[in-house]
Amino acid sequence: MSAWHVNGTSSYALRGRAYGTEPSATPGRPVRNSRRAPVVALVLLLVALAGWQLGGAVWIQAKAALAQRLIASSWSGMQEDGAKRPWPWADTHPVARLTVPSRHVELFVLAGTSGRSLAFGPGHVDGTAAPGSEGNSVIVAHRDTHFAFLRDLHENEEILVEDARGRVSRYLVREVAVVDKHDTRPLDPADSPQLTLITCWPFDAVQPGTDQRYVVIADRTRG
């Protein structure tokens, strides 16, 4: 799907609004102010639209960053008192802390991958091995927030995972690949401890809902 498609569909709504402002313009009298009025209205409308869209975009980032701060505090309390909700109405809880020293990344991984929890942090895919344990542990996150750094991650870079009991496992990136979203092989169990990070690809796609996924696979190393 190209960017054209998006513009094609959503312009429909806007045209409707643009025409809606027209009737006041067409019977127009030759007075400067009243001729300008629709233009001013339109400009204001556009500014409001811009505010709405940009606000939404900033909100996505703000939520992603803020939630991680809240989770960070619930994480530090959790190691003494067991699992905790990062905020009272949260429907998830942190399960691991993922750090990539070379990229100065520190992320708190939440349980489950519902759209709501992914907005707050990377999600551990249910049914895959627990982070840091034997088998294939799969973590997914948004390409434009938490996992934006994946695009720069290369082979043999170090990833650290701390589980709920404070045990730290060290992983090294083995492989990077792009797969179709229907190809669930990255979720397949593995017979050795492995960490799989998945996000949407391409990173710069304008429209959300891409069909491809960027997959980073790391193997656990001793020490």
Partner: protein, 725 residues
């Protein structure tokens, strides 16, 4: 417990969250204008790089473990042929696995496959061309060494190992390019008998097991203590070589029949059969003039994605009420007894006034239950609720990553409470992990409600990897409660279900299809109303105590037989089985006759002994004591166990030496697992930035037009604004 504020309050919470989101948006919109210019640069850079391809990613390159980058080894394929021969209550099964290497390299194929939990695997044969090599049972490490050596020397070899009591691997070394290698595995098992029906199950699919991460999050301090105590006392899982295979490697959805299976069954029952049904597969069934019935699957090659089950019952009343089989091996007599207590008459039934029940339904709502499984479980639970009477008390507990009881304690089964429960159950969704310990600890709280028969009905697919921890938990906390397991889905972990029910002194019911729910649940509840035969004891020929499995015959519920395996120097003579039916003593005497050909009773006894020793290990016995005992029995009876494997090695090397590539054979995913997608992981961030900037630019253009051309129309301004929403 911990999850109690989630779920049914979800609607309210989401409203609140949405309101906060809206508020946030409004505030942020104000700030947005000031950051817009900063973002312009970013936005432009982003859109310029859109669709660029990271240099280290290869589109469509897949994540197959090959050792060298970019190399793709086609996985070996396995075709399975199963022949089952049933004589009386014993089935002997031959599983032929034909490995095919479609590639150009010499490979090693490793196939993970399930077998019934009580299978006594005693024979392995490797067939290469016309030659057949007989496998030998060895201690696990020794077998591994033999296999590794053969692999290095380029000899063909097969190694059958037990990973879990019902999960095995078969490794075949040195399969040449385009070559076929056939491995034949044989085992013996006793059949399940219930309500006059004989049930034979051949597992075909493996549900991936969930390994709990840390402690579950139960609120109740008791539950935490119990769980923690279990974790502490067991310590780290026992290290026995490489980690057991928990998760098979599934073939991608839509790949077709990856590992086709053909099944044929011959039932030689001695008496004519009334009804033979293949529960989940279409099958041809041919009845012979005598007592022989032959069955084979209609589809010659069936996908191994759901278990095979065959149910039959002997024609009207001809079912034997007692039978004994005897085998003499190396100076020891092995006997297998089957005694079916007579059904109580209506009069007797009335005499045994059933106690009111306190029933706790525990339902697994973990991710692995998604799809038809959760539907079946909900349906089963609703059926269970409908059997309750106003005298009974009940509660419902849901668990996935955490445990969530409907009420803190059981409440009377009033119409009102039942109505509430039905609504609560209907809303259950499958999602999250499988932290069973918390739910078990809650249900088995050690409390006893006086005057009530306490039952826990546990509905799950048993997709857990920490079975042993759970068994210990059940054994420790059972008290006078009975635990009944109900297996849900197309491939439940029946080892867990059977053992959990055994430790829980209850029974295991398997529901493989939505249509069976009502029938099977009603049967279960009819059965567990009250035991039919209590205090069962057996007197052996010379009056001395005999080593039997089970060591103590449990109370029998309606339709359940006594099945006992025994070994002693001499068992020839009269055996008396006695017990209490209601308040009447009851007994039956039988004399086993030695069969002319070996019946495999010895192997069954040995398998039961190994299972019992492994149970002791689960309950905390020292592995240093258990291991030699298991090895001794296993070697004597040629059985595969946790500590012994079967290995077969060809004499002549056929493959060039050196490092070989190893590949795990793909396993069909269980049917109930929905073929999924990878989660969607992008937001509208880029789109919104772009649209925002477009709108802003359009506004700028509009403002310019409005200033320079006083008569400017809206049409111009609207044009560049296309795309805004």
């Amino acid at each position: 417990m911990a999850g109690k504020s989630g779920g049914y309050q979800g609607g309210l919470q989401s409203l609140r969250a949405d309101f906060i989101e809206l508020l946030g948006k409004a505030i942020v919109s104000g700030i947005a204008a000031s950051v817009v210019f900063g973002l312009v640069a970013l936005g432009l850079a982003t859109s310029a790089r859109a669709q660029s391809k990271p240099n280290d990613a290869r589109t469509g390159t897949l994540l197959f473990r090959t050792g060298e980058a970019g190399a793709f080894a086609p996985a070996p394929k396995v075709e399975t042929e199963v022949t089952i021969h049933v004589t009386g209550i014993v089935a002997r099964t031959r599983v032929s696995q034909t490995f095919h290497n479609p590639g150009e390299d010499w490979v090693e194929g490793v196939y993970v496959f399930p077998l019934p939990e009580n299978a006594a695997v005693d024979r392995l044969r490797l067939r290469i061309g016309e030659r057949v090599i007989e496998g030998q049972v060895k201690e696990k490490e020794a077998a591994r060494r033999i296999y590794a050596e053969a692999k290095r020397e380029g000899k063909k070899a097969a190694l059958v190992e037990q990973q879990r009591p019902n999960l095995f691997t078969n490794a075949v070394a040195n399969i040449g390019p385009h070559e076929y290698v056939r491995v034949m595995i044989e085992y013996q098992q006793t059949l399940a008998i219930d309500n006059g029906e004989y049930r034979l199950r051949f597992p075909l699919a493996i549900t991936p097991r969930y390994e709990p991460a840390g402690a579950a999050i139960p609120d109740e301090p008791k539950a935490i203590e119990a769980y923690q105590a279990t974790v502490d006392s067991l310590g780290a899982p026992p290290a026995t070589g490489p980690d057991p295979v928990l998760h098979p490697d599934y073939a991608p959805a839509g790949a077709g029949a990856v590992n086709p299976v053909a099944i044929g069954v011959v039932i030689d029952f001695g008496v004519p059969l009334a009804k033979v049904t293949s529960s989940y597969h279409d099958a041809w069934i041919e009845k012979d003039s005598g007592s022989r019935t032959v069955l084979y699957l209609k589809k010659e090659q069936e996908e191994a994605d759901r278990d095979f089950e065959l149910v039959w019952s002997p024609a009207g009343g001809s079912a034997p009420l007692a039978a004994a089989f005897l085998e003499t091996r190396n100076g020891t007599d092995y006997a297998l007894l089957l005694v079916m207590p007579p059904q109580p008459t209506a009069q007797e039934k009335a005499a045994i006034a059933p106690l009111p029940r306190e029933t706790v339904f525990v339902i697994d709502t973990s991710g692995s239950m998604q799809g038809t499984s959760i539907q079946q479980a909900r349906e089963a639970l609703l059926t269970g609720l409908s059997t309750l009477t106003a005298r009974d008390r009940f509660n419902v507990v849901e668990f996935n990553s955490s445990t969530r009881p409907m009420w803190p304690d059981a409440l009377p089964a009033t119409a009102e409470n039942l109505q509430y429960a039905r609504a609560w159950v209907s809303k259950l969704q499958a999602n999250g992990g499988t932290e069973m310990a918390g739910a078990l600890a809650f249900a088995l709280n050690g409390r006893d409600t006086a005057g009530y028969l306490r039952q826990v009905i546990f509905m799950t697919d048993g997709a857990v990897g920490n079975e042993d921890h759970l068994f210990k938990l059940i054994a420790q906390r059972l008290g006078s409660t009975r635990l009944f397991t109900v297996g849900i889905g197309s491939a439940p972990n029946s080892h867990f279900m059977t053992k959990a029910a055994l430790f829980g002194r209850g029974s295991f019911t398997y529901i493989g299809d939505l249509r069976e729910v009502e029938e099977k649940m009603s049967k279960l509840f009819a059965k567990i109303e009250s035991p039919v035969l209590k205090d069962v004891s057996i007197r052996w020929p010379d009056g001395t105590p005999v080593e039997t499995y089970p060591a103590r015959v449990p109370d029998l519920y309606l339709g359940e037989p006594v099945v006992v395996a025994a070994a002693h120097a001499s068992l020839k003579g009269t055996i008396v089985v006695s017990g209490m039916r209601g308040n009447q003593p009851w007994s039956v005497a039988l004399t086993p006759t030695a069969a002319e050909e070996p019946t495999g009773v010895g192997a069954l006894w040995a398998r039961a002994r190994i299972a019992s020793l492994m149970d002791e290990l689960r309950l905390g016995a020292d592995e240093a004591l258990i291991r030699p005992a298991v090895v001794k029995v296993a070697l004597e009876h040629h059985l595969v166990s946790r500590y012994t494997s079967l290995v077969a090695v060809d004499v002549t090397p056929t493959a060039p030496g050196g490092e070989k590539r190893s590949a795990l054979v793909k396993t069909s995913a269980p049917r109930s697992m929905i073929a999924g997608e990878l989660p969607q992981t992008d937001t509208a961030f880029t789109l919104q930035i772009l649209l925002g900037l477009l709108a802003l630019a359009a506004a700028g253009v509009g403002a310019l037009i409005g200033r320079s051309i006083p008569a400017g129309g809206g049409e111009h301004a609207a044009q560049p604004a296309e795309g805004a929403r």
